[in-house]
Amino acid sequence: MSTDFTPWASLAGGTLIGLSAAALLLLSGRIAGITGFIRRALPPYEAARPLEAIAFLLGMIAAPIMYTAVTGAAVVQTVSDNLPLMFSAGFLVGFGSAIANGCTSGHGVCGIARLSPRSLAATTTFMAVAVLTVFLLRHLTGG
């Protein structure tokens, strides 16, 4: 399924993501890594301040509701309803980002922004594997 090219909305949205990450860094001194937040929000609470992590995640969950309340527009979304695929993918995303200590936000945005060699390596790896995966999924298996 094709989607429209939206350079301005995407640039604006990306800038908001970056403003949030920059503000979090300057206020709390933390990297805005969503895997890290989920980990902090879960037992055994070995990292600091689980309530702050939970508040950040709740803010994220509230965002689509706020968006629709303010603009009156529904959030456009197409999610696969292949549940075994989504369940497997969820496990891979969670497991992989926990092992690599970061995901698209921690490595892809914050790590690249501070030119961390680890994050450059992680981002190159997951981008390449994801491109290859979509190629196999869409063009070789027809899924």
Partner: protein
């Protein structure tokens, strides 16, 4: 106050994901689908996010402490290792299969798509499994 600030920053982050189109897995998969219905929008999300975050790091380097805490928690520059690359590869596989990474999946929770509801518990389970494996000899989180 810290909890309120974290909620507001999470809301800003989530609005950025919604406005940019990144909360739509179809758009993410189209970005990764170089050989098919390619949608380059996400390059603009990354560009905006990295640029705004980089400004945050630029300012942070000129401060001794963040506003609310006593020290910055910036990950140390540990070397690239197998765990980082393997974890990122698992992550990329799941990201390509679903079009979801942790931030957009959490944000999309309130939209309630069935695929999202299958993805999130599996992702949380994966994060707990990965964190358990990483415990002992693990490098501190990059994000």
């Amino acid at each position: 106050m810290r909890i309120g600030i974290n909620f507001a920053l999470g809301l800003l982050f989530g609005l950025g994901l919604v406005i940019s189109g990144m909360a739509n897995p179809a758009k993410v998969q189209n970005f990764l689908d170089l050989a098919g219905t390619w949608d380059p929008s996400l390059a603009f999300v990354m560009g905006g996010a990295v640029a705004a975050t980089a400004v945050g790091f630029f300012i942070a380097r000129r401060r001794y402490t963040p506003v609310l805490e006593t020290a910055f928690e910036i990950p140390p520059g540990t070397p690239v290792d197998t765990r980082l690359i393997a974890g990122s590869a698992f992550f990329g596989l799941g990201w390509g299969l679903s079009g979801f990474c942790p931030g957009p999946a959490i944000t999309a929770l309130s939209l309630g798509a069935t695929g999202t509801l299958a993805f999130i518990p599996a992702m949380i389970f994966g994060i707990l499994a990965g964190a358990r494996m990483s415990r002992g000899g693990a490098v501190p989180g990059d994000g």
